[in-house]
Subunit: 600 residues, 2 copies
């Protein structure tokens, strides 16, 4: 039997008990769905992953994409997966019924993304990108564009990409130089280079639909002059598809995640690349942010998924591997015990479990807010948008950064085997490292959180989030057992407030550099606090279930939730002490003027 | 020009100014050496590394060892390197003059190991192992064995290995089952399997000299029945070398460090593997600890070396890569600035530098104590031995664990490029991960520190170490600027004491499991404290040099030391707060009896 890579029981707990997915179904938008149909979807996602993804995970890593004569070959399992995903409706899961979509909640999309990523994070990137790209087109495309592109994309035949990064600009989108010259017929000639484009081209994709940031001739400098274009590899002329002058200039050789090719692309090298404007001119970055934000949440969920797969792999090893004896009874006449009996191994496993399930829960919390936006109106809608906005950089970052640590602990459990390709852990260890880099590095996310999200509308988003957290604390406090943990969470909320009180004067007087110098540490503190929130939420639901008489393996499941929550509060939350201490420290060391010749 | 992978200026500073290598030369044992000859050695080590190691680093990673028909091929640059290293005397650096050694201080060996590992950590493992194995033979071999084996090993022709780990035992050496059956002529028939044996066999090694732990028939169970044997691949019979029945059963496919093959070996599969006892019967583990302890220190120094190479690679990138604008002046009419001007990048670089140079200094501190042992007698010798004993697990662990973090930050600086083989960082990221695993995992080291080293002789080692640290604080306090940092270090020493006071009662009443449950966190706290000690020591020497009138680039070097010291105290030391909080927490969560069904 193949090893397990996630827990369906845990995923259902998070979806239905913690994040109340069923409540959403009362909205008219979801009236065609019921709990049973959602559960069937989850089962079929698992079957999909078991059949088309997990069995190819290792082989995909061993046979990375190859570039030959401008064409990129990918693993032979990619095409069958995309066909199956298209056919089963996974790429159109959230699309409206009248576009042949499943019109399912975004939380279901997040759940499927989780399952698929746990099974094979490389392949699923391709379908995930197409899905997000299709959503972008749904928002900003003309009816004609939608009717033309969406069916092919939903079928998995045409690949979607997001083409932002340029060689000379990297994360600095202000400096994007790809140009768009009006052709007079409403279309544009696109010219420029984009790098690190995932799924940018490969044999087996019948077409590639690029969503490209570019500058219309004469547009203002900076981000205010960026527009969004849809640029297919093959464009329609009459009844034919003709080559649209998008070529592969290079293929990156990645350390991991080898299922999907990362490409360097040239648009319009021969002056014949045609693109169409999506949405408003010069508003392209704002438009693109829809896809970027979706992708950021998907990255966070994907990271928790790899952490999950690694957790179950090391758990299996710890259950099976005999080594050593209990520290309190080293009787050499006894057989060796399995290593899961060693406190240090248990600590590492608990860490993996706490990071994984806490991160999953935070990701689904974001998906829950996104669904609420879809089904609400007016001020309520706006509030959910604010909640989603402030959560997004944290959902991207905490799971990505901490899954690195968590998988590293998992590798440690395997000892020498952990470092070898003869065991499963090292593959996850290599794959996960990109999550803290792409879709905006941890540095970018941290500046977004502290520099933009915390300050927007005079701190309204943080206020709304605090109210949500307060609600969780109130719910938890109905149980004596959880009161101390609610108090610890409250303490951490106080720490965040204290840090902001300390930092805000710098922002006020316009010293952004000082204000943001330790934004990454503020992100870490916020991440720990929000995961603590999610753990308290999970623990409250678990406690309720136990009080309501859960028995047998269900009771064990809920007890395990309580124990893992305790781990998080006793081992992870204390890291807030050092972070807060540093964030309140008046000594700066990283500003240029004070350390000109440091790096020798 | 090839990029730089270490700073000769920094290495000299640590050797001569911080750890007072020159003072050692007053001992008669080193009377054939002077400062100039040591400096020439350092230059020639750099030349060696520039010529034979660094140029092959990347290619070695891309062409890993291959096993075919029981023979392992390694990279073609391995043999020339070993020949050159043998010829230049690097493998016999510390060996006595009358064995044709250089009779140099161990600190020089550490320095050469550092330079070589920074250049190419895979290849140097082979010469390093042979060097340590030769030292073991010098300690426990007969004169005849020494005259027979040492010249070949010193020449780099015969490879040395340490063969401890077995498939069924892993880190649990009590459960070693490889057997040694007396043949009646003083030699033994060896039979068993060993796994993860670095440099265990390869084409180009004329012979492999294995230092094998095995059990003489009828020996007591556990570690008290383990003996040490020298077991060559080819044994001498008359004038001939005949095959000694040591075969390769497998080759591991490692995630990194592909210069040296990790092997699975079978001893005596055909019943014809002859070994000779080294030292006393049943004292093998104690004997082997000489090599293991040397190897542990070498691992710590090697880890700091990889961190160094990664630091200079990301520093170079940060100096060259333009991206974005200063946060306080985002004028789009200005050119982009190089990313070294961003506080977040500076923070990451400072972290890399602080970890790298702090770890180097701690490793050289250990080498300094080892040299002191060699040149002292009686109680003084014993005290240095205690100091070395308590330092060893920390020297192994802190650099290994923190170099992972540090290199990860370096990779982050490169953004998407960091994840790609098209840039240098990912190779270091893969290589470094084994350091926290081999030669005793972090878990094993932490139990050694808290369970053995802290408690031995009623805590004498820790007392002696505290006195050394106190001396550093006293020296530092001659400068007002350093007083606050001495106070921070003192605070951390207080934290360690407080934690021990809290934990010791568990050890007293024999509850070792509880006592050691969070040993890894105690290790982390100790590691931070000892690196803070090393930084205060470096800062004091830097301050002295500045007060003494250092000018120009020297002054910049010393200022940079002071700045990096401040980084360590302001950013890394605060992590002690959370660790101490957890270590003083009465709630246990990882003991078996209280969490039987946690892992679901």
């Amino acid at each position: 039997m193949a090893r397990s890579y996630y827990s369906p029981q845990n995923l259902s707990f998070l979806l239905f008990e913690v994040h109340e997915l069923e409540d959403l179904l009362s909205s008219p938008h979801f009236e065609h769905l019921d709990r049973q149909s959602l559960e069937m979807m989850l089962d079929s996602a698992k079957q999909m992953a078991d059949t088309f993804l997990f069995p190819h995970y290792e082989d995909m890593d061993r046979n990375e994409p190859q570039l030959e004569n401008g064409n990129i070959s990918v693993h032979p399992s990619v095409r069958p997966y995309l066909d199956a995903a298209g056919e089963a409706g996974w790429i159109s899961l959230t699309a409206p019924l009248d576009y042949d979509g499943m019109q399912a909640p975004g939380m279901m999309n997040a759940a499927a993304n989780f399952i698929f990523s746990a099974a094979n994070n490389g392949a699923v990137q391709l379908s995930g990108l197409t899905n997000s790209a299709a959503n972008l087109l749904r928002s900003f495309g003309t009816e004609e564009q939608k009717r033309y592109f969406l069916p092919q994309m939903f079928a998995g035949k045409w690949q979607g990409t997001m083409a932002l990064t340029e060689p000379q600009a990297g994360s600095s989108l202000s400096d994007v130089t790809t140009s768009a010259t009006p052709r007079g017929d409403g279309s544009y000639l696109i010219k420029g280079q984009k790098i690190y484009i995932s799924g940018g081209d490969y044999i087996g994709a019948e077409n590639v639909v690029h969503f490209v940031l570019a500058r219309i001739d004469g547009a203002p400098k900076g981000t205010k002059g960026i527009s969004l274009f849809v640029v297919p590899k093959y464009r329609k002329e009459g009844e034919n598809l003709v080559f649209n002058d998008v070529t592969v200039a290079g293929l990156y050789h990645k350390m991991g995640q080898k299922g999907s090719p990362a490409t360097h692309l040239m648009y319009g090298e021969k002056g014949d690349c045609v693109g169409h404007l999506l949405g408003e001119a010069n508003r392209g970055l704002a438009h693109m942010f829809q896809m970027m934000n979706e992708a950021r949440i998907a990255v966070g969920i994907g990271a928790s998924a790899i952490a999950s797969a690694a957790y179950y792999a090391s758990l299996e090893f710890a259950h099976q591997r005999p080594q050593g004896r209990p520290l309190n009874n080293k009787d050499l006449n006894m057989d060796q015990v399995t290593i899961i009996n060693h406190p240090d191994v248990r600590r590492m496993l608990l860490m993996q479990k706490a990071i994984t399930e806490g991160s999953m829960s935070l990701g689904l919390q974001a998906a829950h807010y996104a669904d609420k936006i879809d089904v609400s109106e007016g001020e309520e809608k706006e509030h959910y948008q604010m909640l989603l906005d402030i959560l997004t950089p944290v959902v991207k970052t905490y799971p990505s950064e901490m899954a690195i640590q968590s998988i590293s602990q998992g590798m440690q459990i395997l000892g020498g085997g952990g470092f070898c390709k003869d065991f499963p852990l090292e593959n996850y260890y290599r794959d996960i490292r990109i999550y803290a880099i792409y879709e905006g590095t941890t540095g970018i996310q941290s500046q977004d959180l502290l520099g933009r999200k915390v300050t927007m509308k005079n701190g309204l988003a943080l206020q709304l989030l605090s109210a949500e957290i307060l609600q969780t604390m109130t719910d938890a406090r109905t149980f004596d057992e959880l009161k101390p943990y609610a108090a610890l969470l409250e303490e951490n909320m106080g720490r965040i407030q204290q840090v902001l009180t300390h930092l805000m004067p710098f922002a006020m007087k316009g010293d952004v550099e000082r204000y943001l110098a330790d934004a990454n540490l503020f992100m870490e503190l916020t991440g720990i606090t929000l995961i603590a929130w999610q753990w308290l939420k999970q623990a409250t639901k678990a406690k309720q279930a136990l009080v309501n008489g859960a028995q047998g393996s269900d009771a064990e499941f809920y007890q395990s939730k309580l124990h893992t929550m305790r781990y998080f509060f006793h081992y992870e939350v204390p890291k807030s002490l050092g972070l807060t201490h540093r964030l309140l420290d008046a000594t700066t060391l990283t500003l240029v003027e004070e350390s000109d010749t440091v790096f020798i």
